[in-house]
Amino acid sequence: MQKNLEFWKRFCRNKGAVVGLLIIVAVILMAIFAPLLYPDSPWKLVQRPFIPPMELDGYWFGTDTLGRDIGAGLVHGARVSLLVGLTSTVVALLIGVTLGAFAGYYGGLVDDGVMRFTELFQTVPNFALAIVLVAIMQPSVESVILAIGIVSWPPVARLVRGEFLSLRSREFVQASMVLGQSNARIILTQILPNTLSPVIVMTSLMVATAILLESALSFLGLGDPDVMSWGYMIGAARTVLRQAWWMSFFPGVMILLTVLALNLVGEGLNDAMNPRLARKSR
């Protein structure tokens, strides 16, 4: 309890992180209550097209090229962005942590093999690989999540491997070995919990990157065609940018805020979890 309180104290010392957290909570609430705020499908053609924002009651964000409510798109888009951001990060963590743990714990040939494999992925540009994967699997929410997960795990693997390498030779791990604990148990209960803080910090940044990747894919028309997302809204509106700024502006702002907030929170977490490091950098 005491420990938690201290953590929050340290987190709150970073004002930016608090603001970020508030924004994220707001976006999450928006996503949760989307069906209440806008019960109709965001694809529904509700009004005449090209209505500027603040002009018509109930359509505060205006309508798009086909007469769909931008507000509905923003709120429903939050669901997709968060869903894809979170789940694809989970996928990346599953792959990255597993491979990193194996490489770092066993070392030697296993380490060499896994790291060469990781480098293979690192040498291919993330975004290009994601496009290819989605194009091969046919665009859908699942394929987008999988593709983003597959391109984002290598940094996790490297980080976890590094932590494992240094922790493996520490006394408490050696003690566990002497006590005859199984490898699996040592990895899961002894080392892994001690690598968590850098991984958590990295996770918040990964979610932000995943949201950006998802937006970029949708922007290019590689998103799930049945799902309204911010990237799709910008992509569909970019061609009328000169006539209707609001169609790409609002979803753009949403992406900016969400990603910025996640980065701020990541920084706050870093401060809170590595207090000594943080103080040094100040």
Partner: protein, 523 residues
């Protein structure tokens, strides 16, 4: 009787052409000289129109090559390389008299031999669409250097409609006879009879054509040269027009929503003419084979549920017309005396109830041709969901779209096809049961089968004279519209945008594709 009529038609056509060419000339004397800068999109794979029939190839090569006839915007034939033609009484023998003194770009004379070589030898081999139509021809013969006679097996109504430059370009026998056409297809030294000669092609940048000094039409061409600019991005093409780099944007070069903006610029004119021959018609394939779409009532419900007027106004920026059936209203033998499927969601829901549609998911494949088509699919999806049809939108690229249609792996799919002026050339192919075959996205992909339609399509092609054909095609259109084998959407229009001082740009039913022979610059 029949003989008289066709002669009259021919005479009328010639007079019409004279008036047509002479009219503007009387009002304004064409000025000589100048350069036309035109956009070409995408870059053509080759300019050898005899071997390659891509749309951009047709557009550029229409300046270099010519056919026997041209067509005015009512689709009536007008003389070009053939000055006169006669049809016998029962519509089975066509005799063309060629213009004398026409020279190929390399100086050789154009004669009947070239016509026979082009049509009987080369195009039969290189143009599959034409080959089918030429099956109606029993023999082609050169009576003398300037007379060609075609003897048909039976009357073939659309025969006079075949001689469009993209379909039947004249090809120099003295160069190509006895060669392997496919090998020479990559040559970039096309020799034609047209108003412009090929000069240079800087791949990825421009194609340069220069005036043919020995062109067979007195005084033409007026322009000195044409540059066809290759600009891969639609927004950049619009910008190129805005800052004056190009003077002409042929139909389809820019996105629809840019059209009104550019059309409002100073010294800018826009025309939707010049597409009458192709008469593009857009529809949604409905897979008639299985599932809910096998039920006629569900297909009719879809027709009632789709708000085509919305698509025309909003998605296409007021371009095009709402389609009433399988035949475009500018194509010959069109009738509007068919079932009316104006937007009526209540009726659609009724029909769905009647058919017992239970909400089974129906997939929708958009045409991957850019933003407009994607928005259109989204609007149609909304229309259909509103009446309770559960639509699953799929995403695909051009290759995937082709493959899915080739393999019949779809429920609903967007497409559009050209009609070539005549139902026998460009309409019946999509509805007759003998054209149900995997491997092409352009045949009867929907798998619609109706014996009566098969019969009528067959009769319509060979009936004579035109009154009889009109009757047959009317019945065919009524049956088709009642059965809804596909969901017709819009008759598309691709406006040509150009500076108003480019005169006489679009004068025929294929518009810019007929070349810049008549065009001149008032500068």
């Amino acid at each position: 009787m029949a003989f008289n009529r066709s002669l009259k038609a021919a005479a009328f056509a010639s007079v019409a052409t004279l008036a047509f060419v002479a009219g503007p000339a009387l009002a304004e004397e064409p000025k000589q000289g100048g350069t036309a800068n035109v956009v070409i999109q995408p870059e053509p794979p080759s300019l050898n129109l005899g071997m390659v029939q891509n749309a951009p190839t047709q557009m550029v090569a229409g300046n270099i090559f010519e056919s026997l006839l041209k067509y005015d915007t009512n689709l009536d034939p007008v003389p070009n390389l053939a000055t006169e033609w006669e049809v016998n009484e029962d519509g089975t023998v066509y005799t063309f008299h060629l213009k004398e003194g026409v020279k190929w770009h390399d100086g050789e004379d154009f004669t009947a031999e070239d016509v026979i070589f082009s049509m009987d030898e080369m195009l039969r081999e290189t143009n599959p669409r034409l080959r089918v139509n030429l099956d109606h021809v029993e023999k082609m013969e050169a009576l003398d250097d300037y007379t060609v006679r075609f003897t048909l097996k039976q009357p073939f109504g659309p025969f006079l409609g075949l001689f469009e430059v993209g379909t039947v370009p004249m090809w120099p026998a003295h160069i190509y006879q006895g060669t392997n056409y496919q090998e020479t297809a990559d040559d970039n030294d096309p020799i034609g009879t047209g108003p412009f000669k090929f000069e240079e092609w800087d791949r990825g940048s421009y194609i340069h054509l220069v005036a043919n000094e020995d062109y067979h039409v007195e005084g033409q061409p007026y322009l000195d040269e044409i540059y066809w600019h290759v600009i891969p991005d639609a927004a950049s093409r619009a910008v190129a027009y805005e800052n004056g780099e190009v003077d002409v944007l042929p139909g389809g070069s820019i996105e629809n929503f840019d059209v009104p903006r550019l059309a409002e610029m100073d010294n800018t004119c826009m025309t939707t003419k010049g597409w009458e021959y192709f008469a593009p018609l857009a529809w949604m394939w409905l897979n008639n084979r299985e599932g809910p779409l096998a039920d006629k009532r569900v297909r009719q419900a879809i027709m009632y549920a789709i708000d085509n007027e919305f698509a025309q106004e909003v998605v296409w920026n007021n371009q095009g017309r709402v389609a009433t059936g399988p035949v475009n209203s500018v194509t010959r033998f069109y009738t509007d005396d068919v079932t009316d499927y104006s937007y009526n969601p209540d009726k659609a829901e009724e029909l769905l109830d009647e058919a017992g549609y239970d909400g089974e998911e129906i997939s929708l494949l958009p045409l991957p041709y850019g933003e407009t088509w994607q928005r259109w699919a989204e609007a149609v999806q909304q229309n259909l969901e509103e009446v309770g049809i559960n639509v699953d939108m799929e995403a695909t690229d051009v290759g995937g779209w082709n493959q899915r249609l080739n393999e019949w792996d779809f429920d609903m799919a967007f497409t559009y096809l050209y009609q070539y002026g005549d139902p026998a050339l460009g309409v019946t192919r999509n509805y007759i049961s003998s054209n149900i075959e995997k491997g092409s996205p352009w045949n009867n992909v929907a798998g619609y089968e109706n014996e009566r339609v098969d019969e009528l399509a067959e009769q319509g092609a060979v009936a004579f004279p035109d009154e009889k054909r009109a009757e047959i095609y009317k019945e065919m259109q009524q049956i088709l519209v009642e059965d809804v084998p596909v969901a017709w959407l819009l008759e598309l229009e691709f406006p040509t945008i150009y500076r108003c001082d480019v005169k006489n740009l679009v004068t025929t039913a294929i518009g810019v594709n007929d070349g810049f022979g008549d065009a001149w610059l008032d500068r």
